[in-house]
């Protein structure tokens, strides 16, 4: 088709322009060496400010509020104070002395707000700051709530008629989760108990994975690649499995049928193994999602950084490198789209399997 010729030639031209731009930049910039490892880790981790870009040596970022509790008193300030000075000195509200906040660059508390005591020791206060990931979570959750509100309103208005627009986009995904994930794994009597959670977690992970791939400002924060977020989701699955498990489920853990007695009586080997398995399953869920998404982001960032690394050695090499590196980065981004869907699917499928095992009906022999 003729349109493909235009699309391919246009994208090649854009790669060349990108190369020319980095060629020009490499000549005009001062020789501040590019530390690829640092840049990549910075993009993947959480931070107190949202760095958008650097314009002619000046950083353009959104400085997010830091909310810190010390001895029951709340201190709120913008993270901009750490951009200008190393330490932020304020008045301690309990005893009116000087209170010093800082963000250390190495050690145990690297990158986190600490209180520097008078004798130099560091103390980590209770920190509920709005960091980059928290703000990104607010934005993505607002987006998800708006989308689903519109979809439910469409269902209420249209009734039994065929779906239209946004509703038709979401309907097949929701039906897919209901039929191919939930109903296949959980018996029909108990499916409806678990279905809201399964649909929620599927869309939460899928939409957050996708938003993490968009490099433009309000999106592009690595949320599902944050171990605390994935650990939270895995904890939800863990609590729902174990709090709603029926007697069959607990019998299978503590008194596994079909296992000889000597594995249970003097040393309860089988119950120990089953209990450890009960804890490792959600842990594995969390680590799988975290590692997949973070690794994907690191690979894309690595390809883009390779342009700058080569440009440091030779500007013309950087221009040539940028064409190939951009093509490779686009290819890896397409894989990341697939991974976004697959990881949401795998998390939801495994949660459904655990729910199914926890609510199994007793099979009559």
């Amino acid at each position: 088709m003729k349109i493909w010729k235009y699309i391919i030639s246009l994208s090649f031209l854009m790669c060349l322009l990108f190369g020319a731009h980095s060629f020009a930049l490499a000549e005009s910039e001062e020789k501040e060496s590019f530390n690829a490892g640092e840049v990549i880790i910075e993009h993947v981790l959480d931070s107190y400010e949202w760095h958008i870009f650097t314009w002619k040596g000046r950083e353009v970022s959104v400085y997010l509020p830091c909310i810190v509790f010390n001895e029951g008193k709340c201190y709120t300030f913008s993270s901009r104070v750490f951009h200008e000075n190393e330490q932020y000195k304020t008045v301690n509200k309990t005893n009116s002395e000087e209170l010093v906040f800082a963000i250390p660059h190495e050690g145990n508390y690297k990158g986190k707000i600490v209180i520097v005591n008078a004798d130099g020791t560091l103390k980590r206060p209770v920190d509920i700051s709005i960091t980059k990931n928290v703000l990104a979570l607010f934005i993505s959750c607002a987006l998800i709530i708006i989308l689903f509100y519109l979809v439910t309103k469409a269902y209420q208005k249209r009734g039994e008629k065929a779906p239209k627009g946004l509703q038709s986009l979401f309907e097949w995904l929701i039906v897919y989760v209901r039929d191919d994930i939930a109903r296949k794994a959980i018996n029909e009597k108990s499916v409806d108990r678990y279905l809201p959670y399964l649909v929620t977690v599927f869309f939460f992970i899928f939409i957050n994975n996708l938003l993490g791939l968009i490099p433009i400002f309000p999106f592009g924060a690595n949320i599902t690649g944050n171990i605390t977020v994935t650990a939270c989701l895995a904890l939800f699955t863990f609590f729902i499995t174990n709090l709603l498990g029926n007697k069959e489920y607990y019998k299978d853990i503590f008194n596994t049928p079909g296992v000889p007695w000597f594995l249970k009586f003097p040393l309860p080997l089988m119950p120990i193994i089953e209990t450890v398995g009960c804890f490792t399953k959600p842990f594995v869920l969390a680590v799988r999602l975290f590692a997949n998404i973070t690794a994907g982001h690191i690979v894309v960032l690595g390809f883009i950084s390779s342009v700058f690394i080569v440009a440091q050695i030779s500007a013309a090499g950087g221009a040539a490198m940028s064409v190939f590196s951009l093509i490779l980065a686009i290819f890896v981004d397409c894989i990341e789209l697939l991974v976004a869907y697959i990881q949401a699917y795998v998390f939801t499928l495994l949660s459904a399997l655990y729910f199914g095992m926890a609510s199994k009906e007793h099979e009559h022999r």
């Binding site: 680590v287 799988r288 499928l349």
Partner: protein, 89 residues
């Protein structure tokens, strides 16, 4: 044998073992990739064979293949996470 002796000498001479730790982390990440590649290639080849034997089951087989590949990938990513922890800490 001589490699072992060499490693021991290097370990005795080095006051700080961080470079060796990073070397170990990099090698381990490579080995984990080999394991993942072997697993996923087995899954892919058996899926393709069974799709050739029974083309009408191709849809089912394809989804199972993607699912199994995600699990194998997950296991290798555990190793990557451990290597990252060693390399930067």
């Amino acid at each position: 044998m001589s490699l072992l002796v060499l490693l021991q000498e290097v370990a005795r001479a080095a006051t700080d073992l961080a470079p060796i730790a990073k070397l170990g982390a990099a090698l381990a990440a490579g080995i984990a990739t080999i394991g993942a590649a072997m697993g996923i290639s087995k899954i892919g080849s058996s899926a393709l064979e069974s799709m050739a034997r029974q083309p009408e089951a191709a849809g089912n087989i394809q989804s199972s293949m993607i699912l199994a590949a995600a699990f194998v990938e997950g296991v290798s990513l555990f190793a990557v996470v451990v290597c990252l922890l060693v390399a930067v800490g």
